[in-house]
Symmetry: C2
């Protein structure tokens, strides 16, 4: 059994390749990977708490907190105390955050369709099915 044939290794290599490649899309906008994930999550919502963002992005609460700090310092998000629960903070994109999101989303979509260019719909469908099947196990 060769390392190259091992499932976990192959997927880890693919993951870091894809991650590095996608990073070339958002890095020019001064974002890190956690920041991009948070931005992408907020782009689909009106307002979320840090907790919600952490769950959606699968970042731990510390990474989420730090990403939010960075995004706030870049003025891409707005934070307001949640009046129902004063421990929590409602986070939403600022006007500039929305602009960045609207700029990046089509670039990321294009990146993805380019990547998938040589793969048929059937193949991709099966690929996703296998991913789901492998992910579901604990």
């Amino acid at each position: 059994m060769q390392l190259n044939d091992m499932l976990a290794y192959k997927v880890a290599m693919l993951s870091s390749d894809l991650s590095d490649s996608l990073a070339t899309v958002y890095k020019p906008y001064g974002l890190t990977m956690p920041e991009w994930r948070v931005l992408a999550t907020l782009g689909n919502a009106t307002s979320l708490t840090s907790k919600h963002i952490a769950v959606a992005t699968r970042l731990d609460k510390v990474k989420t907190s730090r990403a939010l700090q960075q995004l706030a310092s870049k003025q891409l998000i707005v934070r307001e105390t949640n009046e129902n629960d004063k421990r929590a903070i409602n986070i939403s994109l600022s006007a500039e955050g929305v602009r960045t999101y609207n700029t990046l989303t089509p670039l990321v979509a294009k990146w993805q369709t380019d990547r998938l260019e040589n793969i048929t719909d059937d193949e991709y469908h099966i690929f996703l099915k296998v991913i789901n099947s492998l992910s579901q196990q604990k």
Copy 2:
């Protein structure tokens, strides 16, 4: 476009799931992921230099160096100066390293077949084809 639908995100989630899961197999033997990769690579060779190992495992030279230090301190590898090139070091598994490798290999193989239990050969074949296609792009 939701984070959940993004290729890079899905693959990253799968990768960390698989990595964490596989780690439960080799962690009881006191190994970290880089150490396991090095061990797996050395198990298929008689003797390799640090450079060769770095290429095979896709670890950078610093991580490789550190993993080798750890494995040496655990007496799982033997290091001998390469007489043809005295900068390089020939590394091979010690008797105990071989024993650990021989113990772990079937456990890892079982882990992998268990993971793939619900996936047909055809599906897995296509999965690997898509992985290769996605990985090949720079």
